[in-house]
């Protein structure tokens, strides 16, 4: 059966044997069922009864066996019957049954995820994390981790300090495998601060002495990850570094397969934190009886650890390796010598002489490999080791690999002026031009052109020959194009050709084979797993969406070092990405929205130059007409807050630049959210919101709901110019794409430093919101009290003087009805919205409150509030130099007092 023979025909007979008392026979029948139930689902139903019965057997071993096997039978009809027994087994008194049931939940989830959720098994599984038996805990953790992987968004594991503590306790008690599950799970947790990280590390470090290498590696993973959060100045950080080295070295005395896994991981660790193993070079020296895969990995790590301090030893080793038997290993050793030369400058000379020694061995592949690396050394240290060229030229004939031939041609071309017979050498290559690989052909073309530029007199014929070979007789487009370029360069302007072809080349970098930092960080999170063996993220080799949740290191919290995690970068709308999205819009407004969505610059106002104003007006007008608003009056220049002198090209950023007049205090009244933009008008995007003022800052609380069927991304927001210069103080940050039916709440900080234009009504705000679908416009009215600043209390004397000073025609009187408040209550209520009571008087049984407030643009409003006890309405008289605001201040009064 298991070796591939089809014995499914025996199904009924086997099922008949199921109800046996013989445990071994039962196990075999179950094994048969697991293999064939899928092909004969109808027959499998016959077995259900026995399963259910076995789940109630007094013998816990049989109960567990039944639930274990049922989970492996992937037949829909059977899974239905599985639920009840599973529920019972999850609460079984016997830990053996519980631990089996815990894994069974993962099995069931694999077959029918919805069923597991509906039946509430996930909660039961979560409860098992607090089980008294460590093995049950470990299996529950394993099952939950697996289920959580397929639901990256759900917070299934819900790791918090309490549950972490439970896991750490179970860690001490469970089997080696359980310890691995728990450590792997711990690695997914992000501690809230460095303290917590340290305390977890302290409890994980004892695992480094475990005999099971997987436990050690998983512990290393947790430590490497949490170490990110620890400050480097901490004593503990140093201790931890020291503690990590010995276990990693010990892994190298494990079985070869494990050594291989360990070495692949050490390769990552050495790149991330070279300090851990910098003194351990010797342990990576290859042993005679190491398998080849271990040897190659050790060699890689040796190069990474090579430094000035140990280079002599390393070179001596590498030289030995270069005389070994395995061809791949020898090649890599020779390459390693070259890499050492490039990495450790002091050793370059010794490396070159070692390579020359190796060339003398005349072993074909050693010579070729040596020539390839010497080319690199020439590029790193020009004009230093050219004396060896003669030796290299001696071996010209033995080169048969394209890479070595190309390297040799490059050397000859580059140093043509020092090689007397350079033309002969290159000519010899030219004979079989068409049989060479592209790499060699290209190199030969360039080499001969270089030669020609250096020795034009003797080599004219040669260069013409190669050019015609490359351009006329070749059908490789790269070669042809390069040939034509050289040809034209040479024929039109030889001086320019010289500058181009013989230009000074940049030095090659030291480490070209390092893993890219973000990938490295991700791989560190996968220490011990296949990803770390392949040095590839799981998405590269795992099918489907399973287990490909992107992981990243936690950001350092305690130190000032910047976060190394890629995810911490704002995912909102970085300005650089914007232009790709909208240009299709094509109109002025689209461009306008693109131009600057970065946070505004705040600074002292400067006087604006008329040119800039012109630009602003021009574009502003365009915006207005597009929005379709009424005719606007261009604002008086004097009232316009100034820009920071930005260049005209980015004149629109002026829209945002202004100082804000914010104070301190909180508790302003907040209106409930109202729908501003219905989904119908915005292709499925619904926006509702309100304005708040808290501790001196204004913000716009938005609620974005995606009612469309497609995912929305790339949100950005922009305001039209308005009466009080409201503008977004930060870009609209919607961190994740908004999937259908998802709602996101955002608080957008506002500043009052934007451009000013009088609106009708005064508190009208026109907003444009853009996403990946379109740009949408709406307008809303903001309550004026969000503009009342915290330092709006006027001195009593000043109040009197100002009150008299303002002409009487600027006074407006309003009735506030249905406001049964007394003077005290009204005063305190208004104060919380920054309307300050300057004085209070009692005139003829009426309470007179004299109040002042200041708007963000510096306009003072003085008020007299007359409250008659017993009368629900009160009278408000407002005096202001800008009488237009009075109406809105009254509305603000009304809303504040009535709420």
């Amino acid at each position: 059966m298991t070796v591939g023979k089809d014995v499914s025909a025996l199904f009924p007979d086997v099922v008949n044997c199921m109800q046996t008392d013989n445990l071994e026979l039962k196990k075999l029948v179950y094994l048969y069922l697991m293999n064939y139930a899928k092909s004969q689902p109808d027959m499998a139903i016959m077995a259900v009864n026995t399963f259910v019965k076995d789940c109630e057997d007094p013998n816990p071993l049989i109960r567990a066996l039944a639930v274990r096997t049922m989970g492996c039978i992937r037949v829909d009809k059977i899974t239905e019957y599985l639920c009840e027994p599973l529920r019972k087994c999850l609460k079984d008194e016997d830990p053996y049954v519980r631990k089996t049931a815990a894994v069974c939940v993962a099995k069931l989830h694999d077959i029918n995820a919805q069923l597991v959720e509906d039946q509430g098994f996930l909660d039961t599984l979560k409860d098992l994390i607090s089980d008294s038996n460590p093995m049950v805990v470990a299996n529950a953790v394993a099952a939950l981790s697996e289920i959580a992987e397929s639901h990256p968004s759900s917070n299934l594991l819900d790791l918090n300090p309490q549950s972490i503590n439970k896991l750490l306790t179970a860690l001490n008690e469970c089997t080696e495998w359980g310890q691995i599950f728990i450590l792997d799970c711990l690695a997914n947790y992000t501690p809230k601060d460095d303290r917590e990280a340290q305390s977890i590390c302290e409890r994980v470090t004892p695992r480094l002495s475990h005999a099971n290498s997987a436990v050690v590696l998983s512990a290393v993973k947790v430590l490497m990850k949490f170490m990110e959060m620890l400050s480097k100045d901490l004593d503990y950080y140093g201790t931890l570094l020291k503690k990590l080295a010995p276990p990693l070295v010990t892994l190298l005395s494990a079985e070869p397969e494990l050594q291989y896994v360990a070495l692949r991981n050490i390769n990552l660790i050495v790149q991330k934190r070279p300090e851990i193993l910098k003194h351990e070079m010797k342990v990576f020296f290859v042993k005679y009886n190491d398998p080849i895969y271990v040897k190659l990995e050790k060699l890689d790590i040796m190069i990474r650890l090579a430094s000035q301090a140990n280079i002599a030893q390393v070179l001596a080793e590498l030289k030995e390796y270069a005389t070994e038997v395995d061809v791949d290993f020898v090649r890599k050793a020779v390459r390693a010598i070259g890499r050492c030369a490039i990495k450790v400058e002091q050793s370059a000379e010794r490396c070159v002489s070692t390579l020359l020694d190796l060339i003398q061995t005349k072993v074909n592949y050693v010579v070729q490999e040596a020539i390839v690396v010497i080319k690199d050394i020439f590029r790193k240290y020009p004009n230093k080791y050219e004396s060896v060229i003669a030796t290299l030229c001696e071996n010209l004939d033995s080169l048969d690999e394209p890479e070595a031939r190309a390297a040799m041609i490059w050397i000859v071309g580059e140093y043509a002026e020092r090689i007397d017979n350079a033309d002969e050498l290159l000519e010899s290559f030219l004979e079989g031009f068409h049989d060479e690989s592209t790499q060699v052909q290209l190199q030969l073309l360039t080499g001969i052109v270089k030669l020609f530029l250096k020795k034009p007199t003797e080599t004219q014929e040669l260069v013409q020959q190669v050019l015609s070979l490359a351009t006329q007789d070749s059908d490789n487009p790269d070669l042809r194009d390069r040939g034509y370029i050289y040809w034209r360069l040479l024929s039109t302007d030889p001086v320019a050709a010289k500058e181009v072809v013989l230009a000074e080349k940049p030095l090659i970098s030291e480490e070209t084979d390092l893993i890219e930092p973000t990938l490295l960080d991700e791989l560190i999170c996968y220490i011990g797993t296949l990803a770390s063996v392949y040095h590839k993220p799981p998405s590269a080799f795992v099918e489907g969406g399973r287990g490909v949740v992107h992981k990243s290191l936690p950001p350092r919290t305690a130190s000032s070092e910047s976060a190394e995690s890629p995810e911490t970068a704002p995912a909102g709308a970085p300005p650089g990405e914007q232009p790709d999205v909208i240009p299709a819009q094509g109109d002025l407004l689209g461009d306008l929205l693109n131009l600057d969505l970065g946070p505004p610059v705040s600074g002292p106002p400067l006087t604006t130059s008329s040119v800039q104003m012109g630009a602003v007006d021009l574009l502003g007008g365009g915006l207005d007409s597009l929005i379709g608003g009424t005719n606007f009056v261009a604002p008086p220049t004097a009232a316009v807050p100034a820009s920071l002198g930005a260049p005209i090209s980015s004149g629109l950023s002026d829209l945002f630049d202004l100082t804000s007049g914010v104070g301190t205090l909180s508790g302003s009244y907040v209106a409930p959210k109202a729908v501003w933009l219905p989904a119908m008008k915005a292709k499925g995007l619904e926006i509702s919101g309100t304005f708040t003022r808290q501790v001196g800052s204004i913000s716009m609380d938005l609620q974005l709901t995606n009612k469309a069927l497609q995912v929305m991304t790339d949100f950005a927001i922009q305001f039209n110019r308005n009466s009080f210069g409201l503008a977004p103080a930060a870009p609209l940050q919607v961190h994740a794409p908004l999937s259908p039916n998802q709602t996101v709440e955002i608080s957008l900080p506002l500043s009052t430093v934007g451009s000013v234009m009088k609106m009708e009504p005064l508190n009208n705000l026109q907003v444009a919101v853009k996403n990946n679908i379109d740009v949408f416009y709406f307008s809303t009215l903001y309550p004026l009290h969000i503009l009342f600043v915290e330092d709006g209390k006027m001195d009593r004397q000043m109040f009197l003087a100002t009150w008299k000073d303002i002409p009487n025609e600027n006074e407006a009187q309003f009735q506030i009805r249905d406001c049964p408040l007394n003077a005290e209550a009204a005063s305190s209520k208004l104060q919380s919205s920054n309307i300050f009571t300057v004085a209070k008087r009692n005139v003829e049984g009426q309470d007179m409150l004299y109040q002042s407030l200041k708007l963000t643009n510096g306009i003072w409003v003085l008020a007299e509030l007359r409250i008659q006890p017993g009368n629900p309405s009160c009278t408000l008289s407002l005096k202001c130099r800008a009488p237009e605001v009075s109406q809105h201040v009254y509305q603000a009064y009304e809303t504040i007092l009535k709420n």
Partner: protein, 461 residues
């Protein structure tokens, strides 16, 4: 997690196949055979990725064990599991061979069902498994027995069952050390380290608490603060252990905080700890080889060994293995002491000396005739290796104490017969009792004991 597990014979025929996950199809079995077992070149990696499926394999004699997965599993865990699987099978039916596997077909499936659930390794301690997976058909168990089994399998001490009884409580402790030495062609020691193993055989009743102490520098310095006397006595003899790993029975957190090794041992033989030292290694021997090529068909080899310890001590059972080229046609050997023989099947000259006192020197010279070959493949020049027994541990490790305490049963530390040997002669499968040299209560000075070490020296030209 592990999606499936296959066992193949050397021809690539499947002996055992158990699939745990739905994502592993039948063709996975063939993919591994075609791409790895039948591959022409040498195995270049123990992990192979074929069509997005990853195969982990280990080889035992000519049997291949392969674990398959499509997910990003913990690779170290998979290998550890495969080794464990081999251990468990060996504990049940001895050597892992095609015949044994075929004979224990049912048992292996039963084991695979038990120790891997949905690809997650479960309790794999032989001691526990043997209580309920037996080859003798079912035993009718009482309810108490059943719950005892399950609590043991899932419990904190999964490696030991309760209720073990011995008439004689015995404990064997062996320290095995091997010295790895890397020398430059100039005879300079490049690196040397001792990797040691402490192997224990316990035949103790009940659930005994054991405590093991050695002359670990850190412990002795800690204690030395309290009693100055102890420091003067043993401070010099303490050793610095670079790193050590422990069997899962050892309480690691206790070791981490107090550096004391306390544990409840499994029944029978197990490896308690491994350690590694690099400092102050006593190299008992020096090996000085000289190789001279005489023409294309002749090699002259001369090897001198010098014993490098007190003249009063004796090294025993010295065996030097000098590898010879593959195209050797004949060898003539002359040695001053002991016996030497060319073993063609092993491609080596084996030189045996029964005993040798300290500060002595002995040499062997050999003429190796070579067949002229056109074979370009070079000889890999394996190192000369050496086995011997010396009455001290090259690392300097000593056992300070081994205490046994059983809270429930009424036997105390004094009733346990302890056999401690530092170090134990290699190879370890020699029956231990015949080689025991000391019986407890033991004296702290192990000078009178003998033991072997292996010494590997690179062949120098």
């Amino acid at each position: 997690m592990i999606g499936g597990l296959f066992i193949y014979n050397h021809k690539g025929e499947v002996l055992i196949s158990r699939v745990y996950r739905d994502d592993i199809g039948r063709n996975a079995v063939d993919a591994f055979r075609v791409n790895v077992i039948h591959a022409r070149q040498q195995v270049r990696s123990p992990v192979t990725n074929i069509a997005r499926t990853s195969f982990f394999h280990v080889k035992r004699s000519n049997i291949w064990l392969a674990a398959v997965t499509k997910q990003n599993v913990n690779a170290a865990m998979v290998f550890e599991f495969l080794y464990k699987m081999c251990d468990v099978m060996a504990a049940y039916f001895g050597k892992i061979s095609e015949e044994n596997i075929k004979n224990n077909f049912v048992l292996i499936y039963e084991l695979l069902d038990e120790i891997l659930d949905f690809g997650y390794p479960q309790n794999s301690e032989t001691g526990a498994l043997k209580t309920f997976i037996t080859q003798q058909g079912i035993k009718s168990q009482t309810k108490e027995e059943q719950s005892q089994i399950t609590s043991q399998v899932t419990g904190q001490i999964g490696w030991r069952r309760e209720g073990i009884k011995y008439r004689r409580n015995e404990l064997f402790l062996d320290v095995l050390e091997s010295v790895n030495l890397l020398m430059s062609p100039q005879g300079q020691v490049l690196s040397a380290h001792v990797s040691g193993r402490v192997v224990m055989k316990s035949y103790l009743s009940g659930m005994p608490e054991c405590k093991f102490g050695m002359n670990d520098k850190i412990v002795i310095e800690k204690q030395g603060k309290g009693t100055a006397d102890e420091t003067s006595k043993s401070g010099k003899q303490s050793i610095a252990i670079d790193d050590c790993t422990f069997h899962q029975c050892v309480r690691l957190s206790k070791f981490d905080s107090e550096r004391s090794i306390s544990f409840i041992p499994p029944d029978g033989e197990f490896e308690l700890m491994r350690y590694r030292t690099t400092k102050d290694i006593i190299l008992p021997f020096r090996v000085i080889p000289l190789v001279r090529e005489v023409g294309r068909t002749k090699l002259e080899v001369k090897v001198v060994i010098k014993s490098n310890f007190k003249p009063s001590l004796l090294a025993q059972k010295i065996e030097v293995r000098i590898p010879t080229p593959l195209n050797t046609s004949g060898v003539q050997v002359i040695c001053m002491k002991g016996k030497a023989k060319y073993k063609a099947s092993e491609n080596a000259i084996v030189w045996k000396i029964k005993r040798m006192a300290g500060m002595k020197e002995s040499q062997i010279s050999a003429e190796i005739e070579l067949l002229p070959t056109n074979d370009k493949k070079k000889w890999a020049r394996p190192p000369i290796s050496m086995n011997f027994e010396v009455p001290f541990a090259p690392s300097g490790l000593k056992v300070r104490y081994l205490k046994v305490f059983e809270p429930k049963l009424n036997y105390s530390d004094h009733d346990v017969i302890k056999w401690v040997q530092v170090p134990l002669p290699l190879p370890p499968h020699i029956s231990v009792s015949s080689l025991l040299l000391c019986c407890l209560p033991f004296a702290p000075a192990p000078e009178s004991r003998s033991g072997p070490s292996t010494l590997q020296v690179g062949l120098v030209e």
